[in-house]
């Protein structure tokens, strides 16, 4: 490859790595769905694919926030607590009565974003490492939710959320249209806006971004606030999906949110990754999760497999393994 005297390969190589990784992740998801027919005839059908996509929508929205945090080199461990906060506030403040649903739901999201911004403030100004700060926020929020509901959250889902999660339009659940719109929005935001580029610059090299005139301190709050708001929104979606909130509703989402981002090809060190790749990671993980459930493996095995996948993905991505293969495939034709 050094013999190739191209003037500037940097842009192309980056594109290759991210594109190749995204294609591999989506390809693996499709292969898994097809192969799952061999495990159980119920899997792999159209309705099963739709179920997987509905379940994946939670993870896609969460991992958008987690992805932005990882893009700037952080890690958000407060996601489960904020899912619970969003869910609990929705059922207790709005509930089935639909009272003021059109301003209450945005207000709840704003509260979640504020909590995320508080984490960001601790990280930026108190210099607490991100994973510790978000862990601290998480336990405070979880404790407040426990104290506020005295253990058992009451109330059901507002009808708007029930509609979002349960209604169908043209043979496809409404939530899937919503998720597609969200993916488009997230992709545009991360790749084609000044905000997205600034975040990427911040994650690549903080000092360079500062010298280039990016207001790094305030900017660093944004991903934490966005991630918290995304988690709060997933809390609302879960309320609509299961018509109620529990204090542990978010627990099973922390690891997958990190795993989806990492599998999607983002560097855990920050500064690289695309949302489309993350979406692929979320779909792949959800497919795998439904397969594991169908086989009848316990929660423990699922956790082990998730951990193994995270480490495996990190190892594969670290060595630029896929880039290497991708570049070789591209150059072979010449």
């Amino acid at each position: 490859m050094p013999s190739e005297a191209s003037s500037d390969r940097r842009g192309r190589q980056k594109l290759d790595r991210e594109t190749v990784n995204t294609l591999v992740v989506f390809g693996l998801s499709i292969v898994l769905i097809v192969c799952s027919r061999f495990i159980s005839p119920a899997l792999g059908s159209w309705s099963q694919v739709l179920t997987v996509l509905i379940l994946a929508s939670f993870l896609i929205i969460l991992s958008f926030g987690q992805g932005l945090v990882i893009l700037i080199g952080g890690l958000d461990l407060s996601i489960p607590a904020l899912i619970t906060l969003g869910g609990v506030l929705t059922t207790t403040w709005v509930g089935t009565s639909d009272a003021g649903v059109w301003y209450m739901l945005p207000a709840i999201l704003a509260i979640c974003a504020l909590v995320g911004a508080v984490s960001g403030i601790g990280i930026v100004w108190l210099k607490v490492p991100p994973f510790i700060m978000t862990m601290a926020t998480s336990i405070v929020v979880a404790s407040v939710a426990l104290g506020y509901t005295s253990g058992t959250p009451r109330g059901g889902s507002p009808s708007a959320l029930l509609w979002l999660m349960k209604a169908w339009f043209l043979g496809v659940p409404v939530v899937i249209y919503f998720t597609l719109a969200f993916i488009l929005f997230g992709w545009l935001l991360q790749n084609f806006t000044a905000l997205g580029r600034r975040l990427r610059a911040l994650g690549t090299n903080r000092n360079a971004a500062l010298i280039a005139g990016v207001g790094v301190n305030r900017l660093e709050l944004v991903p934490y606030a966005v991630s918290a708001a995304c988690a709060g929104f997933v809390g609302m979606m879960l309320v609509g999906y299961s018509n109620g909130a529990t204090l542990r509703m978010g627990d099973s989402y922390m690891l997958p949110s990190i795993a989806a981002v990492v599998i999607g090809g983002s560097s855990i060190l920050g500064g690289s990754g695309t949302f489309i790749g993350t979406v692929g990671g979320a779909i792949l993980l959800t497919t795998l999760g439904t397969m594991i459930s169908a086989i009848g493996l316990s929660e423990g095995w699922r956790t082990i497999i998730e951990g193994g996948i995270i480490v495996g993905a990190l190892l594969v991505l670290r060595g630029e393994f896929l880039t290497h293969i991708g570049n070789r495939m591209l150059t072979r034709g010449k």
Binding site: F131, M135, S138, R302, T303
Partner: protein, 330 residues
């Protein structure tokens, strides 16, 4: 460097240096807090209360001691939560009674910790993963294994372990405290070895350490294995405390160990610090909880309190580290 050489700072006696180090400060906090506790509750000075306190603090203190090894070498080890859960569950599901059984259990816990630490070390030092990412993976896998072995809280830890390890020797010395003393003695010996010095060197500046001939990956792996063994012993002591198994027993450790390390004067940016400070830091955290909640406040305040203490401990640790750096530079 040249400025320091030209203007050598007056060398202080080792005693004075120990007092102004993070360890000295946390020791002072501990004594003051204990005095306060004794003032409110006169029975705090009894052997029984002290033993109880040592017993409560030992698992966290050992886990924080292990974490310190990794933090000094500039890294984070999240696998503490997984190893503590896994060893706790094993102790409850496969109890071995009698002194021999306890010894076998202890060795088993150490072996599990060592294996997990070895995997962490290889992932980080040989395969080049970031410490948080690699240990997050091993933590998840260990937690999964714990769930596979025991899917809900239950099981019984062997009676010998439960009774003997929470007892006192000659009616005065808490047996759990002996484990802490052993850890401290091993640490004081270890930090004088080449590997121990290398640990500080790679934490301060990995590149320079490598150029100075420190076997960086070997030292890192040693740090992770040592940490893992200490987590294993922490899980063993926790089982003696709780007498039962819980697949999520290690989760609270994740946060509290970092708080204890920071409180003990080890900056999370590595290169400095002491295992003794972390043990005292863990003791202080447990004592603080005891002082504030001896009245029986509901558990949700405990969580809020822990969150705030965690952040405050880190801010405190950062401040002490900055002050000490200033002191060095002068």
């Amino acid at each position: 460097m040249s400025a320091i050489a030209a203007n050598p700072a007056p060398r202080r006696s080792p005693f004075w240096r120990a007092v102004i180090s993070g360890t000295g400060i946390v020791a002072l906090i501990y004594v003051l807090l204990y005095a306060l506790y004794a003032f409110w509750q006169p029975d705090a000075l009894s052997v029984y209360t002290f033993t109880d306190l040592v017993n409560n603090s030992t698992p966290l203190a050992l886990a924080a001691a292990g974490e310190t090894l990794v933090v000094i070498s500039r890294g984070f080890d999240l696998s503490v939560a997984g190893v503590v859960s896994l060893t706790n569950v094993l102790m409850a599901v496969y109890p071995l009674d009698g002194p021999g059984g306890a010894l076998v259990s202890l060795l088993m816990c150490c072996a599990i910790g060592a294996v997990v630490g070895m995997i962490n070390g290889i992932l980080v030092a040989r395969l080049g993963l970031q410490t948080i990412a690699a240990t997050l993976g091993t933590m998840i896998v260990c937690q999964g294994l714990a769930l596979v072995i025991l899917d809900a809280p239950g099981g019984m830890v062997a009676d010998f372990v439960t009774y003997t390890l929470t007892d006192t020797l000659f009616g005065v010395v808490p047996i759990a405290g002996l484990f802490l003393v052993a850890a401290i003695v091993l640490w004081l010996a270890f930090r004088r070895t080449n590997t121990g010095i290398g640990l500080y060197a790679i934490g301060a500046d990995e590149q320079s350490a490598r150029f100075s001939g420190v076997a960086v990956s070997g030292v890192r792996i040693t740090a992770f294995v040592g940490a893992g063994i200490l987590y294993g012993v922490a899980g063993f002591m926790l089982s003696a405390q709780t007498a039962t198994g819980n697949p999520t027993a290690g989760t609270p450790f994740l946060m509290l160990t970092f708080a204890a390390v920071a409180l003990g004067g080890t900056p999370l940016s590595g290169g400095r610090g002491s295992l003794v400070g972390s043990i005292l830091g863990a003791g202080t955290l447990m004592l603080l909880q005891k002082v504030l909640f001896s009245g029986g406040v509901s558990s949700f305040y405990t969580g809020i309190f822990q969150g705030f203490v965690l952040v405050l401990a880190i801010v405190f640790g950062n401040t002490v580290a900055r002050l000490l750096r200033k002191d060095d530079a002068r």
